[in-house]
């Protein structure tokens, strides 16, 4: 199942899993290659593991539908996951407002604190930060995944970092 992994970016390439090959075997190969990474990515965005799994399953269903149009399935499905996860995050944010999601594990204080602060960011900033500091994507790739301009992606990262820094510094009255 690792035959698709040819890039340091776990979501890039997919040549062997390209649409030309047709049906389920390629999709399955892509799925087995990427599902775990995509779930982790969606989890970091949504903060919910069950939601992350659901997002990824939905994304592959959509990829399946668009199989003939996705010239590069790796980034394509990642983009779907980012969009879907961001949408779920947004909905979750509205639903629970300022209550961060519970973390079902014991974590070091720093991790716990940062995770909670991350949950308080706007969805777009959070997504941008996850793509930047988890996937180590370039600004251009982040912009591509978020379907925005590089300047916008850069701005989101900058503002997200600034917001976190203010809160960690204790200067943010909303903290």
């Amino acid at each position: 199942m690792d035959e698709h992994a040819t890039s340091t970016d776990p979501f890039v390439d997919g040549a062997e899993a390209g649409p030309d090959g047709g049906g389920a075997p390629d999709l399955e190969g892509l799925y087995r290659d990427r599902q775990g990474d995509l779930v982790r990515l969606a989890f970091l965005i949504t903060g919910s593991y069950p939601v992350a799994e659901e997002v990824v399953q939905d994304a592959f269903v959509k990829l399946h539908r668009a199989w003939g149009q996705a010239h590069d399935p790796g980034p394509y499905v990642r983009r779907i996951v980012v969009n879907e996860a961001r949408g779920r995050l947004r909905r979750q944010a509205v639903e629970r407002r300022h209550v961060p999601p519970p973390i079902p594990m014991v974590l070091p204080h720093e991790i716990d604190e940062t995770w909670a602060l991350l949950a308080g960011l706007s969805p777009r900033r959070r997504v941008a930060l996850v793509l930047r500091y988890y996937l180590d994507l370039s600004i251009e790739d982040i912009a591509d995944a978020m379907e925005c301009r590089p300047a916008t992606a850069k701005s989101l990262i900058h503002r997200g970092l600034a917001s976190l820094r203010r809160k960690l510094d204790g200067h943010d009255p909303r903290r």
Binding site: Q35, Q57, V61, V94
Partner: protein, 343 residues
């Protein structure tokens, strides 16, 4: 003093720790079961694309969402006739040629309104507008138009400098396929968007998109192709559909609020007639607002259950921004505490 570098390192450690803690299960059997229940994959690009003419062809490819302030409307579109509808019932919007009808659900709380549709030949372009009981009309808006109220980005920030003819142009690869977005600015400063969506790899007439945008901007008659009215019947009737889409607009005359829903439909009756509104009821609780997410990337349907505002969404538009649009609409009422601004 926490530095940016400190924050970056914290983020890296936190995300890695959280990601490491996640152990994805093998859900391939589950996905296989899901795939068995969905339509077959779209045809590959090299497959012949039949000309899309008339209502027998799936309405899949192309949507135009117009944003205009009510007072500035000048486009001479004609609404389809429609059946009178009791609140809470499914409306029958009858096409001009009486070949088909579009089921619409009219929320009981919504004031009287009529919705018109058209698909223009040669390419299926859907325009939507609302005619109120007092005769005024509201065109469908696009998310981009509303963005100027809620977004940090301007068209410049999104699309760079406008082209020579003044339109900001952007080619995107949406989930549905290649999409062309043109953003124009009218004389009153308001923005509007014309979006073209391809879903089957067919090359659309880009000039037509530009002609439409130009006509809207300059308050000139739309291209003749737009006078040819057909319907979105295939998306509604459940006939062979590759990627049906459906569009409608709902608004209230009491607010400077209007929205467009561009719903991608799997089961049109479920997705359109039931799911969005039913979801709004189910999720309402004590909060007189709700939201629901349809098929398609970024598609969202949202409604205020008490009927004071509208539904807003757009196909393949970033979902969180759509929600921001919807919330901003509510926030336009300064006394409304339901959607406090985020950070």
């Amino acid at each position: 003093m926490v530095t940016t570098h400190d924050v970056e390192q914290r983020l890296r450690r936190t995300m890695q720790a959280m990601a490491d803690a996640a152990e994805p299960a093998d859900l391939w059997p589950d996905l296989t079961a899901r795939l068995a229940a969905v339509p077959a994959p779209a045809r590959p690009p090299e497959a012949p694309v039949a000309p899309r003419r008339g209502i027998r062809r799936p309405v899949v490819a192309f949507a135009v969402a117009f944003a205009m302030v009510i007072a500035t409307l000048g486009v001479g579109l004609v609404l389809h006739p429609f059946d009178a509808t009791e609140p809470g019932e499914v409306a029958r919007v009858v096409s001009r040629n009486d070949l088909a009808w579009i089921p619409l659900y009219r929320p009981p709380e919504m004031p009287a309104y009529d919705v018109g549709f058209t698909n223009a030949l040669p390419d299926p372009i859907t325009l939507a507008l609302v005619r109120w009981a007092d005769g005024t009309e509201t065109h469908a808006s696009s998310g981009i138009f509303v963005r100027e109220w809620v977004s940090e980005e301007t068209p410049d920030a999104l699309y760079g400098a406008p082209a020579d003819d003044g339109f900001w142009e952007n080619d995107r690869i949406s989930e549905a396929g290649p999409m062309l977005v043109l953003v124009g600015q009218r004389g009153d400063g308001s923005y509007f968007a014309v979006q073209g969506i391809w879903t089957d790899g067919a090359l659309i007439d880009r000039d037509l998109v530009r002609d439409v945008a130009r006509a809207i901007r300059d308050a000139e008659p739309l291209p003749p192709a737009f006078r040819e009215w057909v319907d979105v019947t295939p998306a509604v009737s459940g006939e062979s559909v590759d990627d049906p889409m459906w569009y409608f607009t709902a608004a209230t005359p009491d607010h400077v609020v209007y929205g467009t829903v561009v719903a991608r439909i799997v089961d049109p009756r479920l997705e359109v007639a039931k799911a969005p509104w039913a979801c709004s009821v189910a999720a309402v609780g004590t909060v007189p607002a709700a939201w629901c997410w349809g098929e398609g990337g970024g598609t969202m349907t949202w409604q205020i259950a008490d009927g004071v505002a509208a539904t807003v969404s757009s196909y393949d538009y970033p979902a969180d921004e759509l929600m921001a649009v919807a919330e901003s609409m509510v926030l336009m009422s300064p006394d409304d505490p339901r959607f406090p601004p985020e950070e």
